[in-house]
Symmetry: C2
Subunit: 464 residues, 2 copies
């Protein structure tokens, strides 16, 4: 059965208003996973997703976890030899507070300037729902799909996806797929479809410096006893050299180089540094010499102080020689680096530079591996074609400075490549008041994702 | 009328029990100047001091201030040409909390091992009272004093002597004196009478580092935006060189050198560094190369971090790139240095080393001048003789790392040398639970101070 593009487009056009109404119904459910007073709402959102999957033509089930349920939708009637894809998204949302900063109520979707404003509009209900509607449309028009499909929608992404890894591990046969597709990110700019090339990992530490057994009078003891806060400052000051390069020995040793064409493409993206500086209200940018701002946040590792505490921090003056000082320090890691390796290097370096007279301890609080996309292969090539068709231009490759641990989990446990293709936009206020999603991006994203599966089946068939 | 040493000693011996009883009555008054619920007690202590001055034979008056009154006792019947001395002390005490750490109640004087335990025993009621009793004894035995005497007892020393400077300024004629004597410090060791050679001054700053207009996500922005906490650490790390010397340009330029014999004498004091280290529970001492621990705390300036605050300081990990970072920094100053000069040097240095991408401000919160004793002249020579007679050994010269602003005020406004001679002991717990004073030191201090005035009159007469 050949795909009739015009029939599908006609279906999208004819159903646009109904689809928007359904999206708004979904957005009206305050499924705030972090707040137990919303537990019934979160449960209702899970049921709502299952119903919409069933309405689209999938078999849907709810899987209980110690927290909020995971919704699984399945359609496994593709032609023999067709690949299987897994679509991941989440139906929970961030808390809406502070409520007084919202222009319209967070759970009453409101359209302004072609964008829908609501908590969860772009993160991630809108992006999850456009996939459901793409599947529904394909099934409605063609009666079948070119691939087998598994949809996994969790309700705890905003509270750390604490039960998802176990669920994938426990259900790896049910979830077995040839590719994983996730739409929970943003495009680089309006009209510019984007594929994520990498995520940074994390190694988060607490450094504690202990001096005397208690706070001392800085007059009586100052000068003779090492000052833990000063010792901490001297330790932190060794983390970078004068060029902003991290000076912890061995830190860059396993960093994978990026192909020149990726860096060239990143350098070609329309990035307005003056606007960026003005938005942040900083006198100038900082960072590692030899890299652009985008490279510094996407493909280069960092070492940041996240917190400092020592001695007297109230108003005015107190002449205390503090007994201890604490820093929270975290390194963003890039592909090739490993949190445990960085933990060893950090600890060895801190011990090596720690001044006399204090006791320094380094605790590793939290870590996550970096991730790098393959930027090639059937799902990547298919996405390039589908996005180009829907948006009228080729996708750009972008990085992401943050971490999404679940990406690595899917890749590792299922052994399948992950495609991160999102339809948000800069300034979308995910996690902030006045979150919004472009309705044009919802529509084009839905059409692109509908086209993706046919392209993917073709790419896979070509490869075999 | 020649001084009969044996008559006076007999008087001290005969009245020891009564004097102790009176001291205990004084210590029973909870004259906690910092707490308004003790205002009546503090007023009662002022009256008590005035009564005891009158009983000794002085004319006493209470001078109201915006805070607690200042008690002045006067005896001006010395022979023509005799010098005038001013004795300063304070009748207020520190709060006693935490009460559960006291072995016996803080306002119920209790003798253990030859020491009286009570709040205010050594700081400063016991030391003020031994002067009153020395005067009383001299007047009782001889009917006269070899010097004119002014006693100034304030009730706000523990809350910063906020009204004393104005009082001295406004009453400089009434308070005009040839020498000022203060007993509010400690001897270096038991049996070792001590004269203070210097006090350190203070220049206290707050350094604020501002980055972006708000906290940022360390994943999205980390690497491209200067980190204010890291910038602050890098600034603080420039304050000292590898030898613990302060590296702020010009910092030592006006430091006065000490005579070799003073440093030699300090180096000869029986100081147990291992005990000091064990008491503090530090792995090793820190400080400036080329100086002993006593020199580092007494005669060398410092630059200390008193407080640090930035970003997330709670439990666990939060991936924030802080918008700002703050340090409280203070320099202890030594004779020759001036707080305003240090303020200029500090600000210039911080501006010079501040990294790009952040805005750094330095605020001078508080300052005080250092002070150096003359270590010579009639009052010093007289004290040496009187202390040697009472304690059976020559006094040692000791420094003090803290600041007592009132010392400089007396010297500057009255134009008179100040003698700091105290009878406390190391570990006396001034400002802490279980404050105590040695009863032997009370007795010997009283006898020494009684002998001081005759010796001083002789020294003055010799000089003219």
């Amino acid at each position: 059965m050949p795909t009739s593009k015009s029939d599908l487009d006609a279906y999208f056009d004819a159903n646009a208003e109904r689809v928007r109404g359904e999206l708004f119904d979904f957005l009206r459910i305050p499924s705030v996973s972090a707040k137990s007073e919303h537990d019934l709402d979160t449960a209702r959102a899970a049921e709502w997703v299952a119903s919409s999957l069933r309405a689209a033509g999938l078999v849907a089930s709810l899987h209980e976890t110690p927290g909020h349920p995971i919704v699984v939708g399945e359609w496994r009637k593709a032609a023999a030899g067709a690949p299987t894809v897994l679509i991941y998204g989440h139906y929970d949302v961030q808390p809406a507070e502070p409520l007084d900063l919202w222009t319209s109520p967070p759970f009453e979707p409101t359209v302004r300037d072609g964008n829908v404003y609501a908590r969860g509009s772009v993160d991630d209900k809108g992006q999850l729902f456009l996939h459901v509607k793409a599947l529904e449309s394909l099934l409605a028009v063609h009666g079948t799909l070119p691939v087998n499909v598994i949809v996994v929608a969790e309700g705890e992404e905003e509270v750390g996806s604490v039960n998802l890894e176990n669920f994938i591990e426990a259900n790896r046969e049910m979830l077995a797929a040839d590719a994983v597709v996730i739409s929970d990110s943003a495009m680089f700019a309006p009209g510019m479809p984007s594929i994520l090339s990498s995520l940074r990992g994390l190694a988060y530490f607490q450094i504690d410096v202990q001096g005397a057994k208690g706070d001392l009078h800085s007059g009586s003891y100052g000068g003779a006893v090492a000052n833990p806060a000063m010792a901490l400052a001297r330790i932190l000051a060794t983390f970078h050299d004068a060029d902003g390069r991290i000076a912890i020995p061995g830190f860059y040793d396993s960093v994978l180089p990026w192909p020149d064409h990726v860096r060239e493409q990143m350098r070609g993206l329309p990035f307005n540094e003056e606007e960026y500086i003005a938005d942040l209200a900083v006198p100038a940018l900082g960072g590692e010499k030899g890299y652009t701002t985008l490279e510094r946040t996407w493909i280069r590792p960092t070492c940041e102080v996240n917190g400092l505490l020592s001695g007297y921090t109230g108003e005015g003056a107190k002449t205390v020689l503090p007994a201890k000082a604490m820093a929270k320090v975290s390194c963003r890691l890039v592909p090739g680096q490993d949190p445990q390796q960085i933990e060893r290097l950090m600890e060895a370096h801190v011990k090596a530079v720690a001044p006399r007279g204090v006791t320094v301890t380094v605790n590793h609080l939290h870590g996550g591996r970096p991730w790098r996309a393959e930027l090639g292969g059937p799902i990547y090539d298919a996405a390039k074609t589908a996005l180009t068709a829907a948006f009228g231009r080729e996708p750009v490759i972008v990085g992401e400075g943050g971490s999404i641990p679940v990406v690595g989990d899917f890749e590792r446990i299922l052994g399948a490549p992950v495609l991160l293709v999102g339809f948000g936009l800069p300034g979308e206020n995910a996690h902030a008041p006045d979150e919004w999603m472009s309705l044009e991006n919802f529509d084009k994203g839905m059409r692109a994702m509908a086209a993706l599966w046919g392209e993917y089946a073709k790419e896979k068939a070509r490869g075999e």
